[in-house]
Symmetry: C2
Subunit: 150 residues, 2 copies
């Protein structure tokens, strides 16, 4: 019934709308938190990847080790990150989220997704079911992209 082209068109339209909304809430929250974008980026990186070293961070942000070290140092001072020696390699550091850092991040995700709840009120129960199963298909396909296999 529908071509892959139609699929792309609809996906993109949705993506535009979705990004627009999420970004708005996102940047609003980032501003109100008083943190800078790179600082938030570090928090997110560690949240997803778990504790990591300075080099991991500098690689992720595409900056020098020096820059990452300075950033992390400041954020440790703010109580957002914990920095400890790596027991296996005493040159390296293990940077992890503090409770405060984790709380901040989760509140951010909360703010970013708040409007999603309003969305639900504009759908019937049956429509919600339809959306849920469709999103599950997308999630599966999305994960399949990560594990390309053959």
């Amino acid at each position: 019934m529908s071509s892959p082209k139609q699929f792309n068109i609809t996906m993109r339209e949705w993506a535009e709308s979705f990004m627009h909304r999420s970004m708005r809430e996102w940047s609003r929250y980032v501003k109100s938190s008083g943190l800078s974008m790179p600082q938030f980026s570090i928090l997110m990186k560690i949240y997803h990847r778990g504790g990591c070293g300075i080099s991991d961070i500098s690689q992720h942000l595409d900056v020098t080790n020096a820059a990452a070290s300075q950033l992390v140092d400041k954020m440790v001072g703010m109580g957002l990150l914990d920095r400890a020696e790596d027991p296996n390699d005493r040159r390296a550091k293990q940077v992890t989220l503090s409770n405060k850092g984790r709380a901040l991040l989760e509140k951010g995700a909360e703010a970013r997704n708040r409007w999603v709840e309003d969305l639900a009120t504009h759908l019937t129960a049956q429509q919600r079911d339809e959306v849920i199963s469709a999103l599950k298909l997308l999630l599966e396909a999305s994960h399949a992209l990560d594990a390309p296999k053959s």
Copy 2:
């Protein structure tokens, strides 16, 4: 069958996955373009809202008129924006996208959504149909949020 709660959970899970992917491509493109985030933000604003004055921009970025004026000035110099007098009010300016600016933006959206095409290859035709109709539901609901009415 499914509660609004279940809807929220699935939506958020999808949102996380989606944002993660899109943001990655996005920031990669922003970096490669040589533009800064606020500069891109101005481009997007004008792309969506059409020509606007300095004040509109400063309001959108939540900065002073001075900052917006300076940024716009620089971007006019780069050939990304056009700045003209507003014929109705000669104090005001009309800032619009140049062809170069528009092209840059559209290539960015392209990069951001490239992975969506790969997604389609992991779904059957029937699954794609299912997704399309679900997304259309979401789009409608999303638009309903903008026009709250009663």
